[in-house]
């Protein structure tokens, strides 16, 4: 082992140690636990093979509610934040008076903890005293009991996530926009391209590599959402808004069945890794074409 190799390993040794102890080992422990019968009140830990997995996969709650919830939520939040973020980035790409002010406001959600954002928006949608219902009443409409029905609760959760993540998209897309060369746009002006055609045929294709990366990263993170759902609805009403990370937590810490919780978590992990790879490959085809 030569000096260079030793140096390389020395550089990553502390990181590797921490990673192994606090990520690899837990994941392996969790995977192991998922194959055992391990409840917190009855820690026998006998090997049961795939029983836990089958239980989760057969659980109607998981199949019919949690998985569709998670995918639906992921698609909805990524789509909304992408479109809004792009619109804001396009706007901020122009110089107009007060631009710095708008930029500061756009940065606001980035410093707010998801938990706090969930609290703020949950308070706004409080059915008795929330400002949204007060506004509805003011307009002569009936107040809505937001957090007692599945879809309205979802709307609130979606709104929170979009509020939190649109600025992230906006900033990254703005940086992307600003790094585009100006000459093709000048050529497009001479080529009589309207604002819309310029956007569709020139701006968008050139932005695609950045957008692809953003979409993949955000999709993976959206899949794992826990904080805001937990704070806004706890997965309710009656477990109707559970995402898979909440499901796993509930199994492990409320039903005290760590094994099933781990099995659910592992299933989710596999799903997301596979999905991420597929998504990356599909979107990458677009990037190849537009390079």
């Amino acid at each position: 082992m030569n000096e260079k190799t030793r140096f390389m390993l020395a550089l990553i040794t502390p990181a590797a140690l921490v990673l192994i102890l606090f990520q690899v080992v837990p994941i392996l422990t969790g995977a192991d636990a998922s194959f055992r019968d391990w409840t917190l009140h009855d820690p026998k830990r006998t090997w049961v093979g795939f029983a836990n997995y089958l239980h989760v996969l057969r659980d109607a709650e998981f199949r019919d509610i949690v998985l569709p919830n998670t995918f639906g939520f992921m698609i909805a939040t990524v789509a909304c934040s992408l479109v809004l973020g792009l619109a804001i980035a396009l706007m901020l790409n122009n110089r107009f008076p007060g631009r710095w002010l708008v930029q500061s406001f756009v940065l606001l959600p980035l410093m707010v903890a998801p938990v706090i954002a969930a609290i703020m928006i949950r308070w706004m949608f409080n059915d008795q005293f929330g400002v949204v219902n007060a506004a509805l009443e003011g307009l002569g409409l009936a107040p809505i009991s937001w957090l007692t029905q599945r879809w309205t609760t979802f709307a609130v959760i979606l709104l929170t996530d979009v509020w939190l993540w649109t600025p992230w998209f906006a900033l990254i897309l703005l940086a992307g926009l600003q790094s585009l060369p100006p000459e093709p746009f000048e050529a497009a002006r001479i080529d009589a391209a309207s604002a819309w055609r310029t956007f569709r045929y020139i701006t968008l294709p050139m932005l695609r590599p950045v957008m692809v990366v953003c979409i993949v990263i955000r999709a993976i993170d959206a899949f794992r959402t826990f904080d805001i759902v937990w704070t806004i609805s706890g997965g309710g009403p009656a477990r109707a808004t559970e995402l898979f990370s909440i499901y796993a937590y509930v199994e492990a810490f409320q039903f005290l069945n760590l094994a099933r919780g781990s099995a659910a978590a592992v299933i989710g992990a596999i799903v997301i890794v596979v999905f991420a790879l597929l998504l990356y490959r599909v979107l990458n085809r677009f990037v190849e074409v537009s390079k």
Binding site: E3, K4, T5, M8, A10, L11, I12, P14, A15, A16, V18, L19, F22, Q23, V24, P26, I27, T29, G30, I88, M91, N94, F96, G98, L101, V102, F105, L108, P109, L110, M111, V112, A113, P114, V115, I116, I119, W123, N126, F129, V131, W163, A192, S194, A195, W196, R197, T198, R224, F226, D227, T231, G234, F244, F253, L258, A265, V266, G268, I272
Partner: protein, 283 residues
Amino acid sequence: MTDIAAAPARSVGFFFALAPRGKAVFFALAATAVCLLFAFPVFWLILTSLRTGTGVYYVHRGTEFTTDNFHEVLSQEIVLRALFNSFMISTLATVLSLGVTATSGYMLSRFKGPIPNAWFSLIYIFRCVPYVAWVLPLYFVTQKLHIFDSYWGLLLPHIAVHICFFSWIMKGFFDGIDPSMEYAAMIDGCSRWGAFWRVAMPAAVPGLTALAILCWLYTWNEFLFALILTAHETPILTVVMAQFVHELGMEWHLMSATAVIALVPALIVTLFGQRYVIRGLRI
């Protein structure tokens, strides 16, 4: 052949067709809408925290303002402890993570071959694994190591996450720094470690500052690890707030006050550090 040049450009386009005046109005409206959308929840939160207990039910109609909520919240021991703990954890995690991810990113940047590839793949895979999959068993790992519900029990897992998140960004920074300076240092008698510490790290300071700010904010706002890995010994602010939501029920004035208190350090760090983040990430 028809005279193509004579074909009029019929699609005039929305923007170009607008008179400069129209454009300005459009921008003003859009800008206002954006500002309102992002600022309103925060504004509402602050307003709620300034209302009395009964006033909170008519936040938009009440006229009284009070700072009593803050007094009451800050007099609770758990809040004070949580405030202190969160601050310590964020700061310590940032300092430790920076050191560990800097070396990791440097290795990924300067070297090629099987070892860096393996490290890169490892980090990438574990970045994708959802937290829940390993936080649950972390509960047991930390208990076994007797660090559950303590500083180290939170710090080390956080550092593990930071390694996955921030090594790439560190790699990017070091990619942008010319390695010739380090070669020159080594020719001048520096060891590889010396070249790293005395040449590469100082050059990466803008990037490190940016990352420190992002890391601090991320840890300050983090929830899931704090929820699972702490109990009564080490209260953490985000968990305390979530608990208030479920326990305090109607006492939104106290809730809001706690939330505002949690927001203030994040605001200060962001406002102060915005410049450095932008400068650092330009690399």
